[in-house]
Assembly symmetry: D2
Homo-oligomer: 389 residues x 4
Amino acid sequence: MHEDSTKTKSPRRVGLWLVGAHGGVGSTTALGLAALGHGQIAPTGLVTKLPEFANVDFDEPDTFVVGGHDSRSTFRDTVEALHSRSNIFAPEVLDECAERIDAWQANIRPAVTLEASATPWAAVDRVVADITAFRARHKLDDVVVVNVASTEPPATPLHANSPREAFEAALATNGLGVPMSTLYAWAAVAAGCPYVNLTPSLGGSFPAFEEHCKHHKVPHLGQDAKTGETLLKSVLAPMFRQRNLRVLSWVGHNILGNNDGRVLANPANKASKIRTKDALLGELLDDKPQSHVSIEFIESLDDWKTAWDHIHFEGFLGVKMTLQFTWQGCDSALAAPLVIDLARLALLAHRRGAAGALAAAACFFKSPLGASVHDLASQFGMFKRYVLG
Amino acid sequence: MHEDSTKTKSPRRVGLWLVGAHGGVGSTTALGLAALGHGQIAPTGLVTKLPEFANVDFDEPDTFVVGGHDSRSTFRDTVEALHSRSNIFAPEVLDECAERIDAWQANIRPAVTLEASATPWAAVDRVVADITAFRARHKLDDVVVVNVASTEPPATPLHANSPREAFEAALATNGLGVPMSTLYAWAAVAAGCPYVNLTPSLGGSFPAFEEHCKHHKVPHLGQDAKTGETLLKSVLAPMFRQRNLRVLSWVGHNILGNNDGRVLANPANKASKIRTKDALLGELLDDKPQSHVSIEFIESLDDWKTAWDHIHFEGFLGVKMTLQFTWQGCDSALAAPLVIDLARLALLAHRRGAAGALAAAACFFKSPLGASVHDLASQFGMFKRYVLG
Amino acid sequence: MHEDSTKTKSPRRVGLWLVGAHGGVGSTTALGLAALGHGQIAPTGLVTKLPEFANVDFDEPDTFVVGGHDSRSTFRDTVEALHSRSNIFAPEVLDECAERIDAWQANIRPAVTLEASATPWAAVDRVVADITAFRARHKLDDVVVVNVASTEPPATPLHANSPREAFEAALATNGLGVPMSTLYAWAAVAAGCPYVNLTPSLGGSFPAFEEHCKHHKVPHLGQDAKTGETLLKSVLAPMFRQRNLRVLSWVGHNILGNNDGRVLANPANKASKIRTKDALLGELLDDKPQSHVSIEFIESLDDWKTAWDHIHFEGFLGVKMTLQFTWQGCDSALAAPLVIDLARLALLAHRRGAAGALAAAACFFKSPLGASVHDLASQFGMFKRYVLG
Amino acid sequence: MHEDSTKTKSPRRVGLWLVGAHGGVGSTTALGLAALGHGQIAPTGLVTKLPEFANVDFDEPDTFVVGGHDSRSTFRDTVEALHSRSNIFAPEVLDECAERIDAWQANIRPAVTLEASATPWAAVDRVVADITAFRARHKLDDVVVVNVASTEPPATPLHANSPREAFEAALATNGLGVPMSTLYAWAAVAAGCPYVNLTPSLGGSFPAFEEHCKHHKVPHLGQDAKTGETLLKSVLAPMFRQRNLRVLSWVGHNILGNNDGRVLANPANKASKIRTKDALLGELLDDKPQSHVSIEFIESLDDWKTAWDHIHFEGFLGVKMTLQFTWQGCDSALAAPLVIDLARLALLAHRRGAAGALAAAACFFKSPLGASVHDLASQFGMFKRYVLG
């Protein structure tokens, strides 16, 4: 399955397994993959489709089959709701792709929950069985598992810092506080699949999981996709630093009205998100300024996430100045292409034999695993060197 | 005068010769150098004072003597007007530095004009004489000449693309459309001084001047300092490109009320400025979007330059999104530290034997000479490698 | 036709004649009237449908028949282009209303032009004939004529200040610089119809026209509908005044990409628009501040008109402060309901016997005819008293 | 003391007693009164100095003597700190007024606290004694008491809805949850002084207090001065309503760094403020939209309060549009002139015999007492009629 030295396009067929498939991001990903497969849309928003990567042997969109876990809704219902409420997607795209996403609908399995499982380990087993059956049924060369489910509250399971065996033993009993995102992640790797965590949920971001990946020789990529306000921070903060302008305070207010926003209206879930959004300023600037980040659920905005940032900074001779920005982006349309990019990158890395956290994926994440670099320019350089190298 | 291999701080004394000394930028530079020399202010805003350059043998602020050309006003009058109208500079700084900038006042010579000179060459001669006398009187090891005068209308002198001798011959007769900024630049180099052009005026941005610098073995740095809106463009445009987001249009409106703004209210002068502000998007993005840049003189703003930019872009599945920013900066306080940085860099490069356009200075300019790189991260890398290398 | 004292809903049938019918505003008006007639949409955006006016005997949307002049395009093509380019109108509305607007399509006559007419008077005659035929064919009780055509360059025809007869005599010869908007207006009134000018074009804004209206006993309403930036000015400027805060400067930048924007890219046409947008600050504030208004055509925005305003003001003890706003509105959807409101108001006023400029319509216009009041609150009070009184 | 029919300027001398005198608002008020008394500054920001009120017999600034309660700091220290940290006040104003505000310093008494008083009634007695002594010492015709102290947590004392006697009886025992702001208010009225509550603290906003004022024949004015974001709401919400545009959501984020902000960082105190800021949308719009208001303490901003509001609204045919604004105001310089206006208005009303809540003051407040009108235009009309009538 590994090293592909010839660099001719492979006749591979691959699977994209979405945990939380029917959410806005999952459904937009399915629709977008279908549209790309038909050659119906330009690859705008896809980093892996930049001209400099034209000769890289990424799996092509038309070679993907989509499956996943979810108990709510369907792909069709979600994309139609996004269309009518948030006014996105051309009707032609919906029409043209309906057949394909309906076919993929048959690959979706009910969400696995802790409540319905005897032990955490039983839940893992169930997920492994679902993924393995999908791979076999479609005769796939490889399957990448991507977590696009709603953000969970922060979690620190016991044994997360222990050896892999101790952690697995805990799963067989009561799991000691292991969140569902982690069970999906553990199962993905146990099934031999590369794993991507697009969310701030714990997933595989702990030492025992790293060991688990190395044991199974699969890469994992995370954590928490950088799609808007934080993306801007990762180019603006280096700009201030490179001009030796001292950032005094950085305030970011985010408002959005989709299901992601609804879940974040719960303070426990919001805590996970704010933690990763706020952390990188300290890394990017010599002095950590006072910072404040809020996320509020404003229903009328639907999928249109709006961020206002106010950056107060000091220049020469102590003069205080201000930069403000407003970012108005469509959450699903910003995140979905990154799912496709990360799936393609994870599959490439798997073929190349990478195991454990993939630092080269840092440019996609708010809290990059395996890398402490946060400025986008450096991260993009790392990505480029890895992909082309 | 060249290579300084020991890296111990030299006991050098250097001169900073400001063309247009009494404008807002020139006067703030003088005040800032005085305050830095006293250790009265932190080096906020100075790129050459970033921690990673602590061991570089730049000339220290307290080793600088300031002189220059200007017929209007004085350093004191300008900084006091900036204080009362634009509400910048702590009164303590003004008090503490008054003596020093008054002493430097004695080094200012009346502006040289074409009108008052028999030929362009006579004007050059006069400038050379002024600079040479300054260097001798203060026993300076080196002098750097920086153009901080008001922006001129665009100019394309005859013979600019001819050999140096042909250009010099033209100067001896009628100059054939050579603007005053170019005569100052020519004279600086003829006097053996490195030259920096902070403005969009022509200065030394033409082939014969490059040859002139190489002949005299001096570096020159330019053109048009990147202090606000364009600085932001140079990090935001690469961000859009690195995410494969297609910029559809980029509109930038600038309002300001200082003398720079008053001069730019003249459409001919404004043309120079807008040309350099607008050019770099085409270089940074694969497809040049529709762009629009305006600069308007709004008197009540004084030195507080405000820019509003509206960036319309297309993401995945054709969804159109928007980024807007407002930058509220104090023009003089943003430009003055760059004068000091560029003076220190030019003097270092001169000692190191550089001649002609210094590409390593690209991160400071809207239209970098000798470099076609416009994204700030790459430019900063070039600067860092040159300075540390 | 006048006073309707019983206040029971009349069984009247009325006509709305749109000059420039197939533009964005005209076509959206037709679609909206059809949708309102079907009871398919809420009356959001319609001032005459506010609860306080529930008992006023306005003509109801389902009693309107639409006709007009235009040689370009069709209603269907325009609304479908708005839907696909600017992403407005629910597909259900388009489907449901298609039959109705196609039927109205048959009432559209080719635009009358000066070029194709022997004299201005021949053009007037042709317009009168078209309107009269429309009224007769559909057995309409009254017809209101509304100018929604593209903005013309500023015009000052000879004899505009002369008696009506002199002006009419001029039309019979060469017109002496009379723009087409004025010929349509003259014809409307000659045909006995109330007239509304939604645009900054001259239309009927001159003394001879006022006399013409009084002679024919019809009201006219204008000029230049207040839909966005100027609407905001008309509440914000009074706020500053009522707090005795001194506005130092008011800068407004407008960007838009529809046909209106394309026409305004022509400096001559733009002049008309900017003149009316900029005038009212002097009326609303005790001291006229420095002001600047720009309008730029930015194609990617289509019908989404975006305005950024920067208001610099002085408060107690001379402290300078700032208000900025960004207005992102859909031009057609903001103007179309005002067409319907003004048509209903003009028809009501006609029935009530009003003749000449109707001051009560001031709240709808940037340059209200017959009224020198510009603050929205006072204007709305005038409107309310007239309508309810 | 009442009706002044002659309209010649009285030779009265009046007192302004500030509860919380040494805060930013109190100290700026003292400085501003001194500067106005000297004729050193224009009356910018003073509503009572608008040209239409030139003939109203308000007490002139030079007839005021300032006193008050506070235990922290001094006038001088506070205004000097505002000058150095927030960069407001011209140094000349500080110099010129130093003597006057130092003289007033002698009139400041230590803050009265519940902790240091045997019973609430003992605290009231102490306040009455301080005010009475001030009035006598300076031979003042009248004294107005204004609460400019830090915002307290929300409070609902027992007996607030009972008759005055029951409430007074409660004060003599343990007060049953009466906050300090209410004790100051009770004492002011008991001493025969009109009372103004500039803050969201309870003060005199309850039935027993209304009865208390009528008993003592004094007016009271409140509550919570409208200086920025809410001022804008009170003109923008009526604009949306008058155009029948449906506001879907209204989000307001406020950041500030002065002592007021520091106190509001305490969630209990913040609750009072947010309640009054958020209430009026429901009053101004037919359907209360989703709304969200936040206030955060951002130290670097000092006295510069910045508000970002995002208003999402629906227009004709269901099209969703957006208005955003940013207000950057200096808190003290916005509130201080309102203190002077309200003091002048309260003294005028007292002379005219007004007793109880003064509805005519509504235009100054977020939660106007005695009036349910929230739109600024109507409120200003009420004020004008009262003052001129």
